[in-house]
């Protein structure tokens, strides 16, 4: 089965959680951090990450600030007040989802 499909719906809570723990991050840093934390198991593609970041920014979940880094400009993302609430909700929903899947796969353990 394609791993990407399984991870697709989890991207938002994962991203919100990362920003909650690291304060502010830029796009490339997020892809590297996820790769590092999952030992290369989950690889967020640029085509999936940036549209999500832009959507969350438009919804007011994230806010962005620009910083000059040498000869280029970097865009940092961080959680807004609403974003912090959204993060708690999204992580709780993901945990619920994981528990439900656990019930389906291992009914005896449940």
């Amino acid at each position: 089965m394609n791993k990407k499909i399984l991870y697709k719906g989890c991207l938002e809570p994962v991203l919100l959680n990362l920003l909650h723990e690291n304060g502010r991050m830029y796009g490339y840093e997020i892809t590297q951090k996820v790769r590092e934390l999952t030992a290369g198991e989950l690889n967020i593609t640029e085509g999936a990450l940036y549209p999500l970041l832009h959507r969350l920014e438009a919804e007011g979940t994230l806010e962005a600030e620009m910083e000059n880094i040498g000869n280029r400009v970097r865009k940092y993302y961080s959680l807004t007040k609403t974003g912090k609430k959204e993060k708690a909700k999204a992580v709780a929903e993901l945990e619920n989802f994981a528990n439900t899947i656990q019930l389906l796969l291992n009914p005896k353990l449940a």
Binding site: Y28, E65, G70, V73
Partner: protein
């Protein structure tokens, strides 16, 4: 760290791949630069061009177009949400009372005058003169950035709404009044309807202006280079 020339090459690369907006380019250039630097550090024999092509492949068969498409719809949504919130903020008790007071003070000359049509004509002319003066100062204050910005291009509607407002007298005097034979008295029900439409359009114009102003100032703060000739 990539050289200035290589960074400029990345900006040109974005343009060649149909990313014409500077605010979208900035983020993509930083991403490409980080990724290229990492590849070149891991493999010193890897050339800049080869690393760039490898990184670009990571964006999939759609290339940058998916990022641009999603960013366009996100900016448009952000703009509309901001505009609607400002529009809503005008509907508070003090502002409604102020609007009614302005309405009554504009109606008084119509009641007192022997020639109400002339009073309306003066109002319409005053609105048009205001429109011309406003447009002049607007374009002088909010100059077009030297580099195209998506966040400003997502702005639509202010001059559309303003145009509708300026067309309202034309619609009223040349169409509605003649078609329905309406007398010019402030108490005619159709006149109340026109006043209501006029108020909604004025509020929409004010909200549109405020939204544009805040978006423009945000763009100036975040992308100062877009407003200069510097590359």
């Amino acid at each position: 760290m990539l050289t200035e020339e290589q960074i400029q090459h990345l900006y040109k690369f974005c343009v060649r791949h149909y990313v014409r907006y500077y605010d979208v380019q900035v983020e993509l250039v930083d991403h490409l630069a980080n990724s290229i630097e990492e590849r070149m550090a891991a493999n010193p024999t890897c050339s800049f061009e080869r690393a760039l092509n490898d990184v670009y492949r990571g964006f999939g068969i759609m290339g940058f177009s998916k990022v641009v498409f999603e960013r366009t719809s996100a900016e448009s949504k952000k703009y509309n949400t901001r505009n609607f919130q400002i529009f809503k903020s005008y509907f508070t008790v003090p502002k409604i009372v102020l609007t009614l007071l302005i309405y009554l003070s504009l109606c008084t000359p119509v009641f007192l005058s022997n020639n109400p049509e002339m009073v309306y004509l003066i109002y319409c002319l005053a609105t048009m003169v205001f429109g011309i003066i406003f447009s002049f100062f607007f374009f002088r204050k909010y100059k077009k950035p030297k580099k195209e910005l998506l966040m400003i291009n997502a702005w639509r509607g202010l001059f559309g709404t303003f145009g509708l407002l300026l067309q309202l007298p034309n619609f009223y005097f040349n169409f509605l009044r003649k078609a329905f034979n309406i007398t010019i008295t402030p108490l005619h029900p159709v006149n109340f309807l026109i006043v209501f439409i006029c108020v909604v359009l004025v509020v929409a114009c004010l909200a549109g202006y405020e939204t544009y102003k805040s978006t423009y100032n945000e763009a100036k703060k975040n992308y100062p280079l877009a407003f200069t000739d510097k590359t």
